[in-house]
């Protein structure tokens, strides 16, 4: 069944956004270090900085943004139905999703890690693997979640939760012996709760994060790509670098001068 298109302006998204004077960005508010509210109630995190890079490119002002709060399962529908101009919410790039939305260039590559309670029954990845089906792992709800855990721990039981805090809570209340999720999130959490948790020392399942926009508007997609790529390789690199250091506690590799590395 065909339904009428929405919000598609005749002159294209780029002109629409420019004439509106602000960028509408879809993201979440409960997942540090990606997107969450700080103690002042402001939306902060790496995804937020990425959105600000785009706004800076549009208006020369990183703050001309209206954030639309959305749950994970609202990311693609909100793009498809035109509720937001762009979504930056740790969207994992997959070919299936690329059939429905357009992915921008990636801005981070993630892996999955296992976090354990310090001094708990299992010391590291090897001990857990040996324990077989006695281990329960808590993860975020996802169709791939079960398979992802089984790739690392083939016999473990899997419990899925709809938010990160519940996933961690399962670990704290002894419902699960390990939590498996994005390495970046785990690292951030362990830093906030120093000494209480340990990393299992095993990471796997690489995945790429991009922003998403609506299909069928090459000018808009190109604009966002330019803005993001130049922040990782060109004139605006210091902004990207500052955000990276702030949220991941590491320094990203400097772009090499000379032959552009993306064509190497």
């Amino acid at each position: 069944a065909l339904l009428p298109a929405t919000g598609a302006s005749a002159q294209g998204k780029l002109k629409e956004v420019l004439s509106r004077g602000k960028l509408v960005v879809g993201t979440g508010s409960t997942n540090p270090p990606w997107h969450f509210r700080n103690e002042k109630g402001e939306l902060v995190g790496f995804d937020i900085e990425i959105a600000k890079i785009v706004a800076q490119g549009l208006f020369d002002d990183p703050n001309k943004i209206e954030f639309v709060n959305q749950a994970s399962d609202a990311r693609i529908p909100n793009i498809v139905t035109g509720k937001v101009d762009i979504a930056c919410q740790f969207v994992t790039v997959t070919a299936a999703r690329a059939q429905q939305v357009a992915f921008t260039v990636p801005y981070y590559r993630e892996g999955v890690s296992l976090m354990l309670v310090a001094g708990g029954p299992y010391a590291d990845y090897a001990a857990m693997k040996a324990a077989g089906s006695k281990v329960t792992v808590s993860v975020l709800q996802n169709v791939f979640a079960e398979k992802m855990v089984k790739d690392a721990l083939p016999e473990a039981k899997v419990d899925q939760f709809e938010s990160v805090d519940l996933m961690y809570q399962a670990l704290n209340s002894g419902r699960a012996q390990a939590a498996a999720t994005d390495s970046s999130s785990l690292r951030y959490y362990m830093k906030q709760n120093a000494g209480r948790y340990v990393d299992s020392g095993y990471s796997w399942n690489p995945q790429t994060y991009s922003c998403i926009v609506k299909q069928g508007d090459p000018d808009w997609l190109n604009f966002v790509n330019v803005a993001l790529r130049e922040s990782m390789t060109g004139t605006t690199f210091p902004v990207y670098k500052a955000a990276y250091e702030r949220w991941f506690g590491e320094t990203p590799p400097e772009p090499k001068i000379g032959f552009p590395q993306e064509f190497r």
């Binding site: 339904l3 169709v143 939760f161 709809e162 519940l166 419902r175």
Partner: protein
């Protein structure tokens, strides 16, 4: 550009949705069964002669009925282990829903009890039935007949509330639907099918309950 509906991805996981529906129904049945016992006890307590029991029943009802079920479920799953009681996710959800439905059913049964004519109770005492026998043989059946329609509504409500179990990873219908969403992002299609299943189940339950009601003698 157009948004076109594709149900293919949803049909591919239809068996998951069906098993989710069955789990939701099963949880609702168990919870309402336990809740019925709780509700009966609390309802008789609330019209009985003992002030302390009346007070306890009123407290139970107003505490539980005014809390969002989600909070109860989260507490049963995450806080009870800290008190040394560890139930699995099915048990703790069924327990929370039982507690919740018990509070609603208390009100249903209490209304039913109040509608039992006083004269009928006296007639039972007059032929020599004890208080307990009167409650069991005379009051309870009349009350149940009066309460049957509301009982059905409560059951349907509890079945719908089983969707909250998704929060603690019980794989019922809503949980499965949201999983499909995360995968395919076919939100409209998924919810159309899921809500169709909910409505169909509710219609069937309502029809069964009406049938049950008809089979009860009219009085």
């Amino acid at each position: 550009m157009e948004y076109s509906l594709h149900f293919g991805a949803v049909w591919a996981s239809f068996d998951k949705l069906l098993s989710g529906l069955a789990i939701g129904l099963g949880l609702a049945v168990v919870a309402v069964a336990i809740g019925t016992v709780l509700g009966l006890l609390a309802a008789f307590a609330s019209v009985g002669p003992y002030r302390l029991l009346r007070w306890a029943a009123a407290f139970y009802v107003s505490l539980i009925r005014n809390l969002p079920l989600l909070v109860l479920v989260l507490l049963a799953y995450f806080a009870l282990p800290q008190a040394g009681i560890t139930l699995d996710k099915y048990q703790s959800f069924a327990g929370a829903l039982a507690l919740y439905s018990g509070a609603y059913l208390t009100e249903v049964f209490r209304a039913g009890l109040i509608s039992v004519p006083k004269g009928v109770i006296e007639a039972a005492r007059a032929i020599g039935l004890t208080r307990l026998q009167t409650n069991v043989s005379v009051v309870a059946p009349i009350m149940l007949r009066n309460a049957l329609p509301s009982l059905g509504n409560t059951f349907i409500g509890m079945f719908k509330d089983s969707s909250i179990a998704a929060a603690i990873a019980v794989p019922e219908l809503t949980f499965e639907a949201r999983k499909i969403n995360v995968d395919t992002f076919r939100v409209i299609e998924t919810w159309t099918v899921a809500s169709g299943l909910y409505i169909a189940a509710c219609v069937v339950i309502a029809a069964l309950l009406r049938g049950l009601e008809r089979r009860f003698p009219k009085f």
